[in-house]
């Protein structure tokens, strides 16, 4: 599954800043950060269940917003400018 995750977490209070960190960490564990609050995740069904549950656990439904976009295999996109992410299915050589 190819899923795009975007979020807005309120950072007015200290608790909100903590939620923001934890939401970002959950996304980082399963996907690639493409922009500040935007992650692309390629996950199988099992990992998707884990990630989704973890994110829903973290956010505060009254203050934060979380959106999942389910992208098909044949989705296309263009990238311009900085922060170009790597493709985790290409050869990974350091």
């Amino acid at each position: 599954m190819f899923i795009l995750i975007t979020y807005d977490v309120s950072t007015v209070e200290k608790a909100g800043r903590r939620r923001l960190r934890r939401v970002a960490q959950a996304c980082k564990d399963y996907g690639l950060r493409v922009q500040n609050s935007v992650f692309e995740c390629k996950v199988d069904a099992k990992n998707w269940v884990l990630l989704r549950a973890r994110l829903l656990e973290e956010i505060n439904e009254k203050e934060d917003s979380l959106r999942f976009y389910f992208l098909d295999a044949d989705v296309t996109f263009e990238h311009h400018g900085t922060k170009k992410p790597i493709d985790l299915e290409e050869p990974l050589i350091v």
Partner: protein, 341 residues
């Protein structure tokens, strides 16, 4: 979900754990952060460090860590508790003690190698324009075909090994004619290893090491013991079964890729460096180019001749290991090597 292999070839890279990701740093600069579920194995060439928590993360997710020397010599492997398919292993050992049954599997491995070699030689014969070379390639293909016919009637292990050697001689005798580009820089006379003495041998040895690693991984994942083989005699520290499984993949995966990379000039003389005493080894850029080529090739899909299913080339070794396991368990009468068009 395509899972990937992480290759570390930069000396002095440091891998640490950040929650569920592996962070790869070179000289304190972050190069890559990979979520662990994207990986199926990690290969470290030469000196890179992995922190204990990072190794533990790999272990938790069943990702083996493989260590190679800088030049691709397989040193060792770190993985969690192996899966305990005791019954399969016992079946494997029983066949190893039975010379007739061993010969049956060994013969199929050699048959697979000869057929794939023949296909490769015929392909180059079709593609060349020089008449004399075409004739040499075609006569090589004829020789391989007659060896294949003779192989059917051979039931003795030593004879099978002899025919494998004959096949290799014929095959490497015309190896030069596969190349259509860069012939002066990549001339091939004879197969040499430990150490490889020219660029082609260096390239072949490195690719064989990569294939061998994948075969060991595939056999281990299937629950077989990679060190007890049939065609290759047992010796301490020799992954005989992996070498058996490899035979059919040498022409198919390694040799073909070497030829393609030279012909497409994806690799050139600048990617190799001579060493004292006549050995030739890769430069760091050359090594990266070959691994990239190998990984890209493994992502291509083909039709499996026996299963009649589309699969990635990288999966073929695992599929073949499972076919072998089915034969050892007695589910199918003989091992069927993978022969592509």
């Amino acid at each position: 979900m395509k899972q990937n292999t992480l290759y570390l070839t930069t000396q002095g890279a440091y891998v640490s754990r950040d929650h569920l990701t592996l962070k790869i740093e070179v000289e304190k600069e972050l190069k890559l952060a990979v979520p662990i579920h994207h990986l199926e194995s990690v290969c470290i060439f030469g000196h890179s460090l992995m922190s204990p928590p990072a190794a533990e993360l790999c272990w938790e997710h069943g990702v083996p860590i493989n260590y190679f020397s800088e030049n691709g010599y397989f040193i060792g492997r770190w993985e969690g508790v192996p899966n305990t398919s005791v019954l399969l292993r016992r079946a494997q050992y029983r066949v190893a003690d039975d010379r007739r049954a061993s010969a049956l599997i060994a013969r199929q491995c050699v048959a697979g190698k000869l057929q794939n070699s023949r296909q490769s030689v015929l392909r180059s014969a079709r593609e060349t324009t020089a008449t004399e070379e075409r004739d040499r390639l075609q006569s090589c293909a004829t020789d391989l075909a007659s060896l294949l016919r003779m192989l059917e009637h051979v039931g003795d292990l030593d004879e099978i090994r002899g025919m494998e050697g004959q096949g290799a001689n014929v095959y490497f005798g015309v190896f030069d004619f596969h190349l259509r580009q860069q012939r002066d820089d990549f001339s091939f006379r004879v197969r040499s290893r430990r150490p490889p003495r020219d660029a082609v041998n260096c390239l072949l040895s490195f690719l064989y090491a990569l294939v061998r690693h994948d075969c060991i991984a595939a056999l281990t994942a299937t629950g077989l013991d990679p060190f007890v083989g049939y065609l290759h005699a047992e010796r301490p520290n020799r992954p005989s079964l992996a070498l058996d499984l490899m035979e059919e993949f040498r022409p198919l995966l390694a040799d073909r890729l070497a030829i393609t990379m030279i012909n497409r000039k994806q690799i050139g003389p600048k990617d190799f460096a001579p060493r004292e005493g006549g050995a030739v080894e890769f430069s760091p850029t050359g090594r990266k180019a070959v691994i990239t080529g190998y990984q890209t090739r493994k992502q291509e899909t083909v039709q499996h001749p026996v299963l009649e299913q589309q699969c990635r080339i990288g999966q073929l070794m695992l599929i073949q290991a499972r076919i072998l396991a089915r034969h050892l368990r007695g589910d199918i009468p003989e091992y069927l090597p993978c022969v592509l068009r």
